[in-house]
Symmetry: C2
Subunit: 168 residues, 2 copies
């Protein structure tokens, strides 16, 4: 079987996965070649993300690609430099409640510090939400700090519950 080079996006026909924001950024699914375009540096602005070896990156990429439309990572590429300026993921959870309903989990959304304030994060989140909607999810949920509530409110989210965590 041919190795996947880009994660699948629901309903993406030829070229449909790519969206240009003005001429500055291209939003598209994560590709194997993105490791060398600053993917780990970008994630490190969100959470500790030491550089990954090509092998480790490829192995996780292939695992995620096997989930098909149940997992999508989108990135925004700076058209001028070819470097990644933003990334975000949506994971589709299959439930039994709500007639075997599907829920989208928005995860690991990050915009490069130098690219903030231009609406890039909002566009990226919109695309991830569209993917979850296209996949048939009845809702999309996310966890964020109180500082980011305003941003996600602009993206159409409303505050719901409390997130709790247990750390090993």
């Amino acid at each position: 079987m041919e190795q996947p080079h880009a994660l699948a996006e629901a309903g993406a026909g030829a070229g449909a996965g790519v969206e240009a924001i003005g001429d500055a950024y291209i939003i598209r699914p994560l590709e194997l070649a993105d490791l060398s375009k600053g993917f780990c540096d970008l994630l490190a602005q969100l959470s500790p993300s030491p550089p990954l070896s090509e092998e480790a990156f490829r192995a996780r990429f292939v695992e995620l690609a096997a989930l098909g439309a149940d997992h999508l990572i989108l990135v925004a590429v700076d058209a001028a430099t070819g470097r990644l300026a933003a990334a975000g993921a949506v994971l589709v959870e299959r439930k039994f409640i709500r007639r075997c309903g599907l829920v989208g989990h928005l995860e690991d959304v990050v915009v490069d510090a130098a690219a903030r304030g231009r609406g890039l994060g909002e566009r990226l989140v919109h695309r991830l939400v569209e993917h979850a909607s296209g996949r048939g999810c009845y809702k999309v949920i996310l966890n964020c700090t109180t500082e980011l509530k305003g941003f996600y409110t602009k993206c159409g989210f409303v505050e719901k519950n409390v997130q709790m965590g247990l750390y090993f």
Copy 2:
């Protein structure tokens, strides 16, 4: 390939997936036969969950079984009646951050109204957390109402962030 009859639990050897609480409840992975033991009635105490047909239940069950140790639903069976008294799930998310870290998402934990106040929920959550830990997760997270913060604090969780949602 033989159809799976029970969802996989990490590190479960012969009989290791079953835990008795006193003599009253048995905690074990969800089985195909559980549809007729009140599974949907139980879930309906958590969220709208109309009865599922055997076909719909089986189809979702098989999809989840295909995720192997990345998805586990545990149920507590009332030893006296054979009916389900509690259920809960953990979904393992594969990330790139934190050296391709794994995160457990605790979902759809519910204890039958008649079985509350006996520590059953805490035991069930403990087992789900153990599964995530055994699978290599660096944390387990969940979303709950403010009313349930005390319960999850007893289970070892700490309050972290805000959950937001977007409903289609």
